[in-house]
């Protein structure tokens, strides 16, 4: 969904801060989520994603700043807002000594809407838990609990769904299922989804808009397609002699595009179409090219961020 001046945001986070003693978990964070978005909240571990989600679900009180849903302040209209949202914060946990059906029934009763038994069975079937409804949750795997968590988040048909690391700890098949569920909810059921993740590849496949936060601060914001499909690439040429590369490109246009040369790598900032041209140039000048790897700038930036090099 394209952001426009005319469109009012469904969620508006306004200069949100959360401080624990001297530690700023979230620092002046502002962003907006619009109707129809699959909005991803990306950041390395400890970036402040969960703290922000906790503030968005009223589990944690902001030190300063505000959260608005549908133009209403969460602090003042908590109950009315939570009726229209479904969320999983961190991993979904349930009453282990009760069945999935009973757990879902309990949370459905608290959702503020009348939920029938067929609704409960239908939702359990939709998340792939049919046949295991009567089993106690303590016998469930992590993936099954995640599915039940999604069922709890959806049972009252909310307009907005907030998911914290929805594919965390799941097997590949489960990841694909959850990804498809999110796509279906967004495209077919017209739900607005805000999800957090530390996996850029995951966000790329699901989200329409994203932000990256680090140390509680917003560092990147925009449409996923624009941010990740940028023409600019970081191209790493692995060679036996990077100094030879430097000598050969001296005085050519490639010199301006060279970012660094050290070890066995010469790193260039290039557009995708320039890669074959550079390769031909190096081969023509008898440079032994062992491999050429390219990364998008954002991907490289994010990898540095999560490895703590940024």
């Amino acid at each position: 969904m394209q952001e426009s001046d005319q469109q009012k945001p469904l969620i508006e986070v306004d200069h949100l801060c959360k401080q624990y003693g001297d530690f700023n978990a979230v620092n002046d964070l502002s962003f907006r989520v619009f109707s129809g978005d699959v909005f991803a909240f990306l950041g390395p571990n400890g970036a402040g994603k969960s703290t922000t989600l906790r503030m968005l679900t009223s589990l944690v009180r902001p030190t300063s700043g505000h959260v608005f849903y549908f133009g209403l302040n969460l602090n003042e209209h908590r109950t009315a807002i939570l009726k229209k949202t479904g969320s999983i914060v961190e991993k979904p946990d349930f009453y282990r000594f009760l069945s999935a059906e009973k757990n879902l029934e309990i949370f459905a009763k608290l959702s503020g809407r009348t939920i029938s038994r067929p609704d409960i069975y239908q939702t359990l079937e939709w998340v792939g838990l049919n046949g295991r409804e009567k089993d106690k949750v303590k016998t469930y795997s992590h993936g099954m609990k995640q599915r039940l968590g999604i069922a709890v988040a959806l049972i009252h048909d909310p307009e907005i769904i907030l998911l914290d690391e929805p594919v965390n700890g799941m097997d590949p098949e489960g990841i694909i299922d959850i990804r498809n569920m999110i796509r279906f909810l967004n495209t077919e059921k017209k739900k607005t989804i805000l999800l957090s993740s530390h996996l850029l590849s995951e966000v790329e496949q699901i989200a329409s808009r994203m932000i990256i936060i680090d140390r509680g601060k917003l560092v990147v914001e925009g449409e996923v397609s624009k941010l990740l499909n940028s023409d600019e690439l970081i191209v790493s040429v692995r060679t036996t002699n990077p100094q030879q590369v430097k000598n050969e490109i001296n005085g050519t246009k490639w010199m301006q595009k060279l970012s660094s040369a050290g070890g066995m790598n010469a790193v260039f900032n290039l557009r995708e179409t320039e890669i074959p041209e550079l390769n031909r140039f190096l081969c023509d000048h008898s440079v032994d090219v062992l491999s050429i790897e390219s990364k998008r700038k954002l991907e490289d930036y994010y990898l540095k961020l999560i490895s703590g090099k940024n």
């Binding site: 589990l59 944690v60 939570l82 914060v89 946990d93 282990r96 949370f107 608290l110 503020g112 709890v152």
Partner: protein, 280 residues
């Protein structure tokens, strides 16, 4: 929504295996005491009455259902707060530790109603526990030993209550025991709000009760000013119902103090929990 919440909390208590520990413990203790009294109750009565036999001639059927019930109530008064705290001390912290509190609080229910519904469900459990104790102790006692006059030996006097004058006292004693145990429920629930570990509130509740009981029983003058304000002093108010005449002023005073403590504990729990950041 509040009734719905309370019903949900009752269902949760009913589904937890630990909820039945209290019932089982009470059943076992009461049955052991009843059988022991049936087997060798006369020796026990002789031992208890030997101090007053020099001054009084004790005759008639002293060992009866009412006396056995009275003995059981006195014996179990220390253990029952632990059985109550096992449930109410786990109410918030247990859910925080298990992660379900997070899910619960993202639902459109107020934090105040969550605390109050948990307290009400815990109180209903306590009531069930006390009624079960009453049924077993009084019913079992009357079944095995039959009715009779109740002889209550206090430090400096013997009180004899006629058989027809005892039953209502036990009913009120059970009601007062419930009031005292509801206070224990409120205290352990308050402590439960401060932590994510369910064992902590249970242990601290018992530690407070034991500490206050020790202070209350020590004959040290410095504690004399403190004793009337300790809730443990008033938790044994049910015993006053077996005096004649009834010390109504003392009983009412104890009731108000027990109620006051319960309200204060609940109020602190509500204020704290409403502002608490849920980080579990």
């Amino acid at each position: 929504m509040f009734l719905k919440l309370t019903w949900i909390e009752i269902q949760k208590i009913a589904a937890k295996p630990r909820s039945y520990i209290g019932m089982i413990v009470i059943t076992v203790i009461v049955l052991v005491i009843l059988l022991a009294m049936k087997a060798d109750g006369t020796s026990y009565i002789k031992f208890v009455t030997q101090s007053v036999e020099q001054s009084f001639l004790v005759e008639g059927k002293i060992l009866n259902g009412y006396l056995v019930c009275f003995i059981i109530l006195q014996t179990l008064i220390i253990q029952i707060p632990l059985l109550v705290a096992l449930i109410t001390g786990d109410a918030i912290s247990g859910e925080a530790g298990a992660g379900t509190l997070r899910f619960l609080l993202t639902k459109p229910v107020s934090r105040g109603s969550i605390i109050m519904s948990k307290y009400c469900a815990g109180s209903l459990y306590t009531l069930g526990l006390v009624i079960w104790l009453g049924i077993l102790a009084l019913g079992g006692g009357l079944l095995l030993f039959g009715p009779g006059d109740l002889v209550v030996i206090k430090s400096e006097e013997i009180i004899i209550l006629q058989s027809s004058d005892v039953f209502w006292r036990f009913m009120l004693a059970i009601a007062l025991a419930f009031l005292a145990l509801s206070l224990v429920g409120a205290l352990s629930m308050l402590l439960s709000c401060f932590t994510d570990n369910s064992i902590g509130p249970i242990i601290i509740t018992m530690a407070i009760i034991i500490l206050f009981t020790i202070i209350g029983t020590l004959d040290v003058p410095i504690f004399d000013h403190v004793k009337p304000f300790l809730f443990t002093t008033h938790m044994i108010v049910w015993r006053s119902l077996f005096e004649r005449p009834l010390p109504m002023h003392d009983i009412m005073c104890s009731i108000w103090i027990l109620l006051g403590h319960t309200i204060v504990f609940l109020a602190i729990a509500l204020i704290y929990f409403r502002k608490k950041d849920i980080l579990s």
